[in-house]
Protein backbone atom coordinates (compact mmCIF):
# COMPACT_ATOMS: atom_id res chain seq x y z
CA UNK A 1 0.00 0.00 0.00
CA UNK A 2 1.71 3.19 -1.16
CA UNK A 3 -1.04 5.80 -0.75
CA UNK A 4 -0.22 8.99 1.14
CA UNK A 5 -2.54 10.07 3.96
CA UNK A 6 -4.14 12.66 1.69
CA UNK A 7 -4.73 10.05 -1.01
CA UNK A 8 -6.30 7.74 1.58
CA UNK A 9 -8.63 10.52 2.72
CA UNK A 10 -9.71 11.25 -0.87
CA UNK A 11 -10.03 7.54 -1.67
CA UNK A 12 -12.21 6.66 1.33
CA UNK A 13 -14.12 9.93 1.01
CA UNK A 14 -15.17 8.99 -2.51
CA UNK A 15 -16.04 5.41 -1.54
CA UNK A 16 -18.23 6.78 1.28
CA UNK A 17 -19.80 9.32 -1.09
CA UNK A 18 -20.56 6.67 -3.74
CA UNK A 19 -22.09 4.34 -1.15
CA UNK A 20 -24.21 7.13 0.34
CA UNK A 21 -25.50 8.03 -3.14
CA UNK A 22 -26.70 4.48 -3.81
CA UNK A 23 -28.52 4.38 -0.46
CA UNK A 24 -30.02 7.88 -0.42
CA UNK A 25 -30.89 8.69 -4.03
CA UNK A 26 -34.46 7.30 -4.03
CA UNK A 27 -35.15 9.04 -0.69
CA UNK A 28 -33.79 12.36 -2.00
CA UNK A 29 -35.92 12.14 -5.15
CA UNK A 30 -39.04 11.29 -3.13
CA UNK A 31 -38.97 13.07 0.24
CA UNK A 32 -41.66 12.51 2.89
CA UNK A 33 -43.89 15.33 1.65
CA UNK A 34 -44.10 13.93 -1.90
CA UNK A 35 -46.60 11.25 -2.88
CA UNK A 36 -44.83 7.97 -3.80
CA UNK A 37 -45.51 7.30 -7.50
CA UNK A 38 -47.70 4.24 -8.13
CA UNK A 39 -44.99 2.42 -10.04
CA UNK A 40 -42.52 2.80 -7.16
CA UNK A 41 -45.18 1.60 -4.70
CA UNK A 42 -45.58 -1.46 -6.89
CA UNK A 43 -41.79 -1.95 -6.96
CA UNK A 44 -41.64 -1.56 -3.17
CA UNK A 45 -44.14 -4.43 -2.92
CA UNK A 46 -42.34 -6.86 -5.20
CA UNK A 47 -38.64 -5.94 -4.87
CA UNK A 48 -38.10 -7.36 -1.36
CA UNK A 49 -38.98 -10.82 -2.69
CA UNK A 50 -36.81 -10.51 -5.79
CA UNK A 51 -33.87 -9.00 -3.91
CA UNK A 52 -33.73 -11.71 -1.25
CA UNK A 53 -33.79 -14.28 -4.07
CA UNK A 54 -30.96 -12.40 -5.74
CA UNK A 55 -28.97 -12.19 -2.48
CA UNK A 56 -29.11 -15.96 -2.05
CA UNK A 57 -27.61 -16.40 -5.52
CA UNK A 58 -25.12 -13.58 -4.82
CA UNK A 59 -23.83 -15.52 -1.81
CA UNK A 60 -23.44 -18.61 -3.98
CA UNK A 61 -21.86 -16.82 -6.95
CA UNK A 62 -18.50 -18.56 -6.58
CA UNK A 63 -19.71 -22.15 -6.42
CA UNK A 64 -18.88 -24.45 -9.29
CA UNK A 65 -20.58 -27.72 -10.17
CA UNK A 66 -17.52 -28.93 -12.03
CA UNK A 67 -14.85 -28.57 -9.32
CA UNK A 68 -13.87 -31.41 -6.98
CA UNK A 69 -16.74 -30.88 -4.53
CA UNK A 70 -19.44 -30.25 -7.16
CA UNK A 71 -20.92 -27.57 -4.84
CA UNK A 72 -22.13 -30.41 -2.60
CA UNK A 73 -21.45 -28.62 0.73
CA UNK A 74 -23.71 -25.76 -0.38
CA UNK A 75 -26.39 -28.03 -1.85
CA UNK A 76 -26.53 -30.32 1.19
CA UNK A 77 -26.54 -27.45 3.71
CA UNK A 78 -29.23 -25.46 1.91
CA UNK A 79 -31.40 -28.57 1.50
CA UNK A 80 -31.01 -29.21 5.25
CA UNK A 81 -31.96 -25.61 6.06
CA UNK A 82 -35.07 -25.81 3.87
CA UNK A 83 -36.24 -29.12 5.37
CA UNK A 84 -35.51 -28.08 8.95
CA UNK A 85 -37.18 -24.71 8.48
CA UNK A 86 -40.31 -26.19 6.89
CA UNK A 87 -40.46 -28.67 9.78
CA UNK A 88 -39.65 -26.49 12.82
CA UNK A 89 -40.06 -22.91 11.52
CA UNK A 90 -37.41 -21.73 13.96
CA UNK A 91 -35.22 -19.12 12.27
CA UNK A 92 -32.21 -19.30 14.59
CA UNK A 93 -32.30 -23.09 14.74
CA UNK A 94 -32.35 -23.37 10.93
CA UNK A 95 -29.53 -20.86 10.47
CA UNK A 96 -27.43 -22.33 13.30
CA UNK A 97 -27.73 -25.96 12.22
CA UNK A 98 -27.26 -25.05 8.54
CA UNK A 99 -24.07 -23.11 9.28
CA UNK A 100 -22.59 -25.76 11.59
CA UNK A 101 -23.39 -28.44 9.02
CA UNK A 102 -21.68 -26.39 6.29
CA UNK A 103 -18.61 -25.81 8.49
CA UNK A 104 -18.43 -29.53 9.26
CA UNK A 105 -18.71 -30.41 5.58
CA UNK A 106 -16.01 -28.01 4.35
CA UNK A 107 -13.64 -28.73 7.24
CA UNK A 108 -13.94 -32.52 7.53
CA UNK A 109 -15.81 -34.11 4.63
CA UNK A 110 -15.01 -32.19 1.45
CA UNK A 111 -11.52 -31.08 2.38
Amino acid sequence: MNYSSLQLIIFFGLVVFGTVITRTLPFLLIPDRKEIPKFLKYLANVLPFTMIGMLVIYCLKNISFTDTNHALPEIISIAAIILLHLWKSNTLLSIGVGTLLYMFLVQYVFV
Binding site: V15, T22, P26, L43, A44, I57, Y58, K61, S77, T99
Partner: protein
Protein backbone atom coordinates in the same frame (compact mmCIF):
# COMPACT_ATOMS: atom_id res chain seq x y z
CA UNK B 1 -37.02 4.31 28.60
CA UNK B 2 -38.83 0.97 28.97
CA UNK B 3 -39.94 1.34 25.36
CA UNK B 4 -36.37 1.63 24.18
CA UNK B 5 -35.17 -1.30 26.24
CA UNK B 6 -37.96 -3.57 24.96
CA UNK B 7 -37.20 -2.48 21.37
CA UNK B 8 -33.49 -3.16 21.88
CA UNK B 9 -34.17 -6.66 23.17
CA UNK B 10 -36.61 -7.44 20.34
CA UNK B 11 -34.12 -6.10 17.79
CA UNK B 12 -31.26 -8.10 19.29
CA UNK B 13 -33.17 -11.36 18.81
CA UNK B 14 -33.55 -10.64 15.12
CA UNK B 15 -29.89 -9.68 14.63
CA UNK B 16 -28.19 -12.74 16.19
CA UNK B 17 -27.37 -14.35 12.79
CA UNK B 18 -25.98 -11.01 11.57
CA UNK B 19 -23.92 -10.77 14.78
CA UNK B 20 -22.20 -14.05 13.90
CA UNK B 21 -21.72 -13.15 10.26
CA UNK B 22 -20.50 -9.61 10.82
CA UNK B 23 -18.09 -10.52 13.61
CA UNK B 24 -16.46 -13.09 11.33
CA UNK B 25 -16.54 -11.15 8.05
CA UNK B 26 -15.65 -7.93 9.87
CA UNK B 27 -12.67 -9.68 11.45
CA UNK B 28 -11.62 -10.97 8.02
CA UNK B 29 -11.81 -7.40 6.75
CA UNK B 30 -9.76 -6.02 9.65
CA UNK B 31 -7.18 -8.74 9.11
CA UNK B 32 -6.93 -7.98 5.40
CA UNK B 33 -6.58 -4.21 5.96
CA UNK B 34 -3.94 -4.89 8.62
CA UNK B 35 -2.00 -7.13 6.24
CA UNK B 36 -1.99 -4.28 3.69
CA UNK B 37 -0.40 -2.00 6.28
CA UNK B 38 -3.47 0.10 7.13
CA UNK B 39 -3.77 1.27 10.71
CA UNK B 40 -6.65 0.59 13.11
CA UNK B 41 -7.82 4.16 12.56
CA UNK B 42 -8.45 3.50 8.85
CA UNK B 43 -10.13 0.19 9.60
CA UNK B 44 -12.40 2.03 12.03
CA UNK B 45 -13.12 4.90 9.61
CA UNK B 46 -13.96 2.49 6.75
CA UNK B 47 -16.27 0.34 8.87
CA UNK B 48 -18.05 3.30 10.46
CA UNK B 49 -18.48 5.46 7.36
CA UNK B 50 -18.35 3.17 4.31
CA UNK B 51 -20.20 0.37 6.11
CA UNK B 52 -20.75 -1.73 2.98
CA UNK B 53 -19.08 -5.10 3.35
CA UNK B 54 -18.55 -6.16 -0.25
CA UNK B 55 -17.38 -2.69 -1.29
CA UNK B 56 -14.94 -2.53 1.62
CA UNK B 57 -13.34 -5.75 0.40
CA UNK B 58 -13.21 -4.42 -3.16
CA UNK B 59 -11.62 -1.21 -1.84
CA UNK B 60 -8.78 -3.21 -0.28
CA UNK B 61 -8.00 -4.60 -3.73
CA UNK B 62 -8.09 -1.10 -5.21
CA UNK B 63 -5.67 0.14 -2.54
CA UNK B 64 -2.95 -2.12 -3.92
CA UNK B 65 -3.33 -0.55 -7.38
CA UNK B 66 -2.35 2.96 -8.50
CA UNK B 67 -4.30 5.89 -7.02
CA UNK B 68 -7.39 6.34 -9.22
CA UNK B 69 -10.09 8.34 -7.38
CA UNK B 70 -12.59 8.47 -10.26
CA UNK B 71 -12.21 4.74 -10.88
CA UNK B 72 -12.80 4.06 -7.16
CA UNK B 73 -15.92 6.23 -7.17
CA UNK B 74 -17.42 4.55 -10.26
CA UNK B 75 -16.55 1.11 -8.90
CA UNK B 76 -18.40 1.99 -5.69
CA UNK B 77 -21.51 3.00 -7.62
CA UNK B 78 -21.46 -0.29 -9.52
CA UNK B 79 -20.77 -2.58 -6.56
CA UNK B 80 -23.42 -0.86 -4.44
CA UNK B 81 -26.06 -0.29 -7.13
CA UNK B 82 -28.31 -2.91 -5.51
CA UNK B 83 -28.84 -0.48 -2.60
CA UNK B 84 -31.02 1.59 -4.93
CA UNK B 85 -33.57 -1.25 -4.94
CA UNK B 86 -33.41 -1.58 -1.15
CA UNK B 87 -34.04 2.15 -0.81
CA UNK B 88 -37.03 2.01 -3.18
CA UNK B 89 -38.43 -0.89 -1.12
CA UNK B 90 -38.14 1.13 2.09
CA UNK B 91 -39.53 4.46 0.76
CA UNK B 92 -42.87 3.89 2.48
CA UNK B 93 -41.62 2.09 5.58
CA UNK B 94 -39.11 4.82 6.45
CA UNK B 95 -41.64 7.67 6.22
CA UNK B 96 -42.37 9.86 9.20
CA UNK B 97 -39.36 8.76 11.23
CA UNK B 98 -37.97 12.28 11.65
CA UNK B 99 -34.40 12.64 12.82
CA UNK B 100 -33.81 8.91 12.75
CA UNK B 101 -34.46 8.57 9.03
CA UNK B 102 -31.04 9.68 7.69
CA UNK B 103 -29.25 7.13 9.88
CA UNK B 104 -31.62 4.32 8.86
CA UNK B 105 -31.00 5.16 5.20
CA UNK B 106 -27.22 5.38 5.70
CA UNK B 107 -27.03 2.01 7.45
CA UNK B 108 -29.19 -0.05 5.07
CA UNK B 109 -26.83 -2.94 4.26
CA UNK B 110 -27.85 -6.23 2.59
CA UNK B 111 -28.32 -7.88 5.96
CA UNK B 112 -30.16 -5.02 7.68
CA UNK B 113 -32.42 -4.74 4.64
CA UNK B 114 -33.09 -8.47 4.65
CA UNK B 115 -34.30 -8.29 8.26
CA UNK B 116 -36.25 -5.05 8.05
CA UNK B 117 -38.00 -5.72 4.74
CA UNK B 118 -39.29 -9.05 6.02
CA UNK B 119 -40.00 -8.27 9.68
CA UNK B 120 -42.30 -5.84 11.45
CA UNK B 121 -41.79 -4.72 15.02
CA UNK B 122 -43.43 -7.32 17.34
CA UNK B 123 -46.72 -6.46 19.10
CA UNK B 124 -46.31 -3.73 21.69
CA UNK B 125 -42.82 -2.77 20.53
CA UNK B 126 -42.13 0.81 19.41
CA UNK B 127 -41.65 0.52 15.63
CA UNK B 128 -39.28 3.45 15.31
CA UNK B 129 -36.87 2.18 17.96
CA UNK B 130 -37.08 -1.36 16.61
CA UNK B 131 -35.98 -0.16 13.14
CA UNK B 132 -33.23 1.91 14.75
CA UNK B 133 -31.83 -0.83 16.98
CA UNK B 134 -31.75 -3.49 14.24
CA UNK B 135 -29.77 -1.03 12.08
CA UNK B 136 -27.56 0.20 14.91
CA UNK B 137 -26.73 -3.22 16.37
CA UNK B 138 -25.72 -4.53 12.93
CA UNK B 139 -23.48 -1.48 12.48
CA UNK B 140 -21.86 -2.03 15.89
CA UNK B 141 -21.25 -5.73 15.12
CA UNK B 142 -19.50 -4.82 11.87
CA UNK B 143 -17.29 -2.16 13.49
CA UNK B 144 -16.44 -4.43 16.45
CA UNK B 145 -15.62 -7.37 14.17
CA UNK B 146 -13.32 -5.35 11.94
CA UNK B 147 -11.49 -3.71 14.87
CA UNK B 148 -11.00 -7.11 16.53
CA UNK B 149 -9.66 -8.48 13.24
CA UNK B 150 -7.24 -5.57 12.99
CA UNK B 151 -6.01 -6.02 16.57
CA UNK B 152 -5.77 -9.79 16.70
CA UNK B 153 -4.26 -10.10 13.23
CA UNK B 154 -2.94 -13.60 12.77
CA UNK B 155 -3.47 -14.56 16.42
CA UNK B 156 -6.79 -16.29 15.75
CA UNK B 157 -6.16 -20.01 15.56
CA UNK B 158 -9.73 -21.33 15.80
CA UNK B 159 -10.79 -22.88 12.50
CA UNK B 160 -13.63 -20.67 11.35
CA UNK B 161 -13.62 -21.94 7.77
CA UNK B 162 -17.16 -21.88 6.40
CA UNK B 163 -18.67 -19.78 9.19
CA UNK B 164 -19.47 -16.97 6.75
CA UNK B 165 -22.13 -19.33 5.39
CA UNK B 166 -24.25 -17.97 8.26
CA UNK B 167 -25.29 -15.03 6.05
CA UNK B 168 -26.22 -17.34 3.16
CA UNK B 169 -28.28 -19.33 5.67
CA UNK B 170 -29.93 -16.12 6.89
CA UNK B 171 -30.99 -15.16 3.36
CA UNK B 172 -32.25 -18.69 2.62
CA UNK B 173 -34.39 -18.69 5.77
CA UNK B 174 -35.79 -15.23 4.99
CA UNK B 175 -36.58 -16.45 1.48
CA UNK B 176 -38.51 -19.41 2.94
CA UNK B 177 -40.38 -17.14 5.36
CA UNK B 178 -41.33 -14.80 2.52
CA UNK B 179 -42.33 -17.76 0.37
CA UNK B 180 -44.70 -19.03 3.07
CA UNK B 181 -46.15 -15.56 3.68
CA UNK B 182 -47.35 -15.01 0.11
CA UNK B 183 -49.30 -16.91 -2.52
CA UNK B 184 -47.58 -15.15 -5.39
CA UNK B 185 -44.10 -16.60 -5.83
CA UNK B 186 -43.39 -14.93 -9.14
CA UNK B 187 -41.27 -12.03 -7.69
CA UNK B 188 -39.06 -14.44 -5.73
CA UNK B 189 -38.65 -16.66 -8.79
CA UNK B 190 -37.81 -13.63 -10.94
CA UNK B 191 -35.07 -12.63 -8.47
CA UNK B 192 -33.57 -16.11 -8.35
CA UNK B 193 -33.95 -16.71 -12.10
CA UNK B 194 -32.50 -13.35 -13.15
CA UNK B 195 -29.54 -13.76 -10.82
CA UNK B 196 -28.77 -17.30 -11.98
CA UNK B 197 -29.06 -16.51 -15.69
CA UNK B 198 -26.94 -13.34 -15.40
CA UNK B 199 -24.36 -15.15 -13.24
CA UNK B 200 -24.01 -17.78 -16.00
CA UNK B 201 -23.88 -15.17 -18.77
CA UNK B 202 -21.70 -12.46 -17.20
CA UNK B 203 -19.59 -14.33 -14.65
CA UNK B 204 -19.29 -14.00 -10.87
CA UNK B 205 -17.87 -10.47 -10.81
CA UNK B 206 -20.14 -8.58 -13.18
CA UNK B 207 -23.62 -10.02 -12.94
CA UNK B 208 -25.39 -7.86 -10.33
CA UNK B 209 -26.20 -4.86 -12.52
CA UNK B 210 -27.44 -6.96 -15.48
CA UNK B 211 -29.47 -9.00 -12.97
CA UNK B 212 -31.00 -5.81 -11.53
CA UNK B 213 -31.96 -4.62 -15.02
CA UNK B 214 -33.48 -8.00 -15.85
CA UNK B 215 -35.41 -7.93 -12.55
CA UNK B 216 -36.67 -4.42 -13.28
CA UNK B 217 -37.75 -5.42 -16.80
CA UNK B 218 -39.47 -8.61 -15.61
CA UNK B 219 -41.41 -7.07 -12.74
CA UNK B 220 -42.49 -4.21 -15.03
CA UNK B 221 -43.81 -6.72 -17.57
CA UNK B 222 -45.80 -8.71 -15.01
CA UNK B 223 -47.26 -5.63 -13.33
CA UNK B 224 -50.54 -5.37 -15.24
CA UNK B 225 -51.44 -9.09 -15.10
CA UNK B 226 -50.40 -9.19 -11.44
CA UNK B 227 -52.52 -6.23 -10.41
CA UNK B 228 -55.46 -7.52 -12.42
CA UNK B 229 -55.22 -10.86 -10.61
CA UNK B 230 -54.99 -9.15 -7.21
CA UNK B 231 -58.17 -7.22 -7.89
CA UNK B 232 -60.19 -10.36 -8.58
Amino acid sequence: MMNKKAALLAAFGHTIPVFTGYMVLGAAYGLLMDSKGLSLLWIFIASVFVYAGSMQFVAVTLLSLDFDPLGAFLMTLMVNARHLFYAISMLGKYRGLGKMKPYLIFSLTDETFSILCSTDAPEGIDRKWFLFFVSFLDHIYWITGSILGGILGGMIDFDTKGIDFVLTALFVVILINQWKATKNHLPALIGIGSAISCRLLFGADDFIIPAMLLILLSVTLIRTPLERRNKQ
